[in-house]
Chain length 288, copies 6
């Protein structure tokens, strides 16, 4: 039996969707921190992303999903199994940036000597300044809404994906102090237990397959036999396509798995190249 | 033209999804009890699950979706077409249980002689005690939130799927008085009308196909020809897989429909057995 | 770089879904009018459907999605690229109708001479009466909730899809003054710019493919070889099916793309004709 | 210690407000059925209005607030302490009416012989027809949204305050079968217990005082001594006004408690009669 | 019978509160545009603030509450009865300002020659530029969210109370083109009807009294007789206080109506001057 | 100009109400952390209660409202101006308790030697165990929902007002480690600035007056002159009542300020003692 820690909050819906694609049905009731799952070997528990690595390290849970940022901030001694790239709208990792009001006179980290910096990531921020040899007055812990405090203190360190919240608050980025992606992590002792490790490796395989499938589609098309080579050359080389005969022997059916961002450019080109009957269909999992 | 009764409330979203997979587009506006549907032969009406069997029996509607529990509680004389196993997170049927506070001295139904029992299922509960030859003081009707009344009366009879609400209220189960699953039911007269029956049988076929598909996925993979027999032996025997040639004659493409709960265990094993290019894709319907 | 105008409001969720199927990931935050998209060549901006054609005409945006009704009402000089039939529950276009209270003595447009008519579509309504040679007192602009004003003035001109809002307000339709469907429109200058036009045509192709896929499914089945011709004759002629051999040479695998509304009737017939192993699966795009 | 049953649902907010004016602070958390109260002698429990009289009769609670309609429907043997007229926007009692679709041919109760009537108030409705000597086919229980069923059966019996829901559904009233107001009721045994009765009488006094205050205001004004008699004659005779001297001996201060609906007409008249410095202030309680 | 038009939307809650203080009970259901009121002489109808003056002018309603801005924008010929200063947090009127992005090169209205300006207030904005003799390219109608369009066109004209939305969007104010307050307006014909006018004047009196009371409180205190003159001198001269004897003849009771913003400064001063037993109480109406 | 820190979250509505009674109008928009206020000398900023004392100590804000618990947890060196007893339903302070699952074998703090304790109040909890000379393994920080972690670790320290959340989670209290009430605190330097201190003292006076008024009402009544002494003896001695003559010299008017919890018992007794015309009215402020 594995205890699995899932992050509560904005990633929650994505997590249910991810496990769904991976083949597990989750039932999250709003009141409960213990979602149901249709696998008797797994027990799910929801935590704030910020604390998951602590509970994994303590052995309170065997495995958890959290960010690289909080693993480091908590100095948690855990085994990192793999990345799980959640974010859909952008493939870039989240960045923790040092920012000041647009109108501030501060231009570089050194200008913050003796200043107050406000952040959710106190330890990481303190180390950043130590490493630069800059002595600040205080790195003050902020319970969320850090960006609104930028004009109350000297600078903030806040997370940003697209920079839109910074822009909305009229802040200027001075430096990036850390980048972070989502990780699947395990308690060290659990990872050394062969039965638990086997289960965790399978789970990682399924979740990664589910993750990969989110960006991909299956593409089927009818290709004139005479232009087959030309068409195959247009397809991404990554995975070899399946070519099947059709009733009309002048045509063959071609099927391939492609990235959605590739498909967008590929489909109009295929049409122009004489391909017909193009359909694309969604995938749950893409492995190996 | 068929009048179809659908259950309002927690199953509503699942119902839209189910009809969607079955091939019908529903449009439910929050204010209306008459959802739209893109089939001119069907007219949809929403009811509380508790009353649907009554209106089916009366002929107010031809066909409806409701629970076995309320068919029995209402003593409704209707034709049961088939089961429709809605619940996703668990395959177990719902149970109506006799429960008391954890700290109560009541240990068995007999201890409730002369007691007050509170329930939404008055008739079924009364019969249960009659059958056991136990004379209770009163079976009092409860308009929902029955579990909070357990400490006000002597016992309650309430529905439970996972037992979590009972645990949250610190209740102890004494006995199960009924198990229940979702049913598609028809008015007897409508069922005997050949045209209506034909339409209802088709609808049942499509809904059951949609239901079955929710637990299943399509699985495609590339298998080394030399290990084909070994791999086929690993696949569930239930439905025969499709084997197709590939361009590279050392490999064949295999496609099969499997339960998601099987797929979770199967995929890692297939990988270890040398299978490559595994993808799984979602299904709308699986019939026959 | 293309500036794309999307309609805010009730179509918003459909738009995200449509772009998703077309292969683009949108991220709409509730506060922002600038949704993110994973294509650096596109910049999205949300407007009210009523104003999109104005901003396309002005060149503020290059391309937009809006209704034919508002293109006409605004007298916007724009290039109409194609239709995008959003509505899922009904395939009929939206209608702008002239309506009066059920109990009104008004029976035909001519009875409205010297009357006050209330509508969101002032210009179109005025033209309608001019064309009929009817002189009304005033066509008054209504900021939404037009149907509740029907009993305050003499008549209203309001949009209706299913007529349910009119029925709920007890209104009677006198005439239809315009029908409207959703359009993809381009700024004339942008359309004449080859690079922009290429990008817009590709986008139109992908959106139309995504739109078409919403009403269709992929259908796979196992057919006894001896009845293959009979079965093929039952399938819609529109797109030719793929027929593949199966391990058991008495059977063949048939795959075809069909409308969901066709599938509903087809599947029970196929079952009765001896077809087995029917599955249907969802599609993202169907092109050509 | 008294157990007090309060109605859950639409009256909930009014109940908190009423107890607040009466001098008790309630804290209702959304999840809990046991609101807190700052009086250690009272324990509050929330029920549906429909079931309160049953639990009062059973002695599960000592006292409760519910409607006359449900006391009668449940045939509950309870002591009615007093009325508590909740409704703010109208002083008329709620009516349970027999209604049919506007277009129905049914004109009078007798036309419903052999018909199906749908209602939440099955027993009361059945008695109504029995008393009239009319034999209906069935009085079917409706779990809410009764008005939408009017076109599925022959008639409904539903509650109405202003008639707006009936109008929105295009229904026509045939007859009123019961009028109902809110009541404070006690368990008979509790009522005969002197200590409990004393507490219940005090509670009734405070709640009635709070209720009375909702419709009234305190009115203060400066009156020219010479027109004092004329002004006093304009004030409602119900409660005698307080007349106090002012520094300027030509004027007196007059204070009186009046109904808000009286105040609306009174204030402009007082102004015209030369009164100055009118203020009105809200009241918590008006007793005796 | 008067037809009264109330503004739908953000002022709605304030309107209910205002009528409540004025002595009328409103019941607004979310679905209905016809709020109930406990005065049979009034019929309420909700409109968007933008259209109310049109319907008052047309005589569709007799009286309405709307802004000066929309009366002017609509060029409505109506009788303005009085101001009704709704806004609680600030006493300043709303301003319609011409604004550009912070980074824009536009500094004065003249820089907008040949520009596109986006606004809800098309006519007023056009007149503003005409009066200045500036010829713009287009004043384009904006359906809300005007501030987000500032970077798409050359400038916007938008409403602002505190300027916070402009700041959040990084906009710079170039000029104020109109200030506006809330008005009670009447149809000219209704105003000339003596019975209707009488009712409208009374209503205006009550609403203004209610409005005035929102900013004021009643203040009572015990004052040493010897320092009475000194204390009276500290009180605002606007309304004369009531002075009453107390049992202890060394003290007198003083009561006065003051602005809340005055009370805040006054109370600490009174305490320092030896006043005791200060209480303040809320008011419903303050007239004359 | 004073910078005032207000607690975001569950106390927010109470804060607006408190400032309203104190005589200030706040406008809190959901998106903004900077509420508006109608006093140009105050600038409001919202923080989480947990961080306010840090920002007061740093001088980022001059004055703030927070709990004693977080002042201590943060070891903040600030000036405590006064208590502000927010809680309405109970007058007891909040308690931070050490709790374990009902079924745990842990009976006393000493049983937690070498255990893991989970809490939001890490420093305070660590000190508690140090003071007892108990060496625990770890005091782990919990980001909310601490009660659900009780079964994952050995014990928790969580806040409780009524104990209901603990009961709902089936937890048993071992010890109380801290009690806490709400405090108004000032930055030390600001407190030593005469102008700021004057403003803060006035603010404290008004807020305390507003707080006091929440539990009190004004009570007016008509008393037979002959029983005046008897009635006065029944009134609480705390504040002396005002006695005024009435027109009918056999009666006098008595007015007094009483606690609501006293009024509840007092009013029925007064009625029995022959007092008539009792009204009670709400208060905004009660000072001195």
């Amino acid at each position: 039996m594995l205890r699995v820690g899932l992050p509560k909050g904005s990633l929650q819906e994505s997590t249910v969707d991810l496990f769904d694609r991976a083949g597990f049905k989750l039932s999250i009731s709003q009141r409960s921190y213990f979602p149901g799952i249709d696998d008797p070997d797994l027990q799910l528990i929801m935590f704030r992303a910020q604390e998951i690595s602590r509970y994994v390290e303590d052995g309170v849970i065997d495995i958890g999903i959290t960010g690289y940022d909080w693993i480091k901030e908590n100095d948690s001694n855990v085994h990192q199994i793999c990345e799980l790239a959640y974010s859909r709208s952008t493939s870039a990792p989240a960045r923790w940036v040092l920012a000041v009001p647009e109108e501030s006179s501060i231009e570089k980290p050194q200008d913050l000597a003796d200043g107050i910096i406000c952040t959710e990531l106190v330890r990481t921020t303190s180390r950043y300044f130590e490493n630069l040899g800059i002595s600040v007055k205080k790195v003050e812990f902020s319970w969320g809404a850090t960006e609104v405090k930028a004009r109350l203190v000297d600078a903030i360190v806040d997370i940003t994906e697209t920079g839109s919240s910074l822009r909305a608050n009229n802040l200027r980025i001075i430096d990036t102090i850390m980048t972070s992606t989502t990780r699947l992590i395990a308690n060290n002792q659990s990872w050394n237990d062969p039965a638990k490790r086997h289960k965790m490796e399978d789970l990682a395989l399924l979740l990664q397959g589910a993750m990969a499938a989110r960006e991909k589609v299956g593409l089927k098309m009818n290709v004139p036999r005479e232009s087959l080579d030309q068409i195959l050359a247009m397809l991404p080389a990554e995975r070899s396509p399946t070519v099947s005969p059709l009733a009309d022997s002048k045509w063959v059916a071609v099927e391939v798995i492609v990235e959605e961002s590739v498909e967008r450019d590929l489909v109009p080109k295929l049409i122009r190249a004489g391909v017909t009957g193009i359909i694309s269909y969604p995938l749950n999992k893409v492995i190996a």
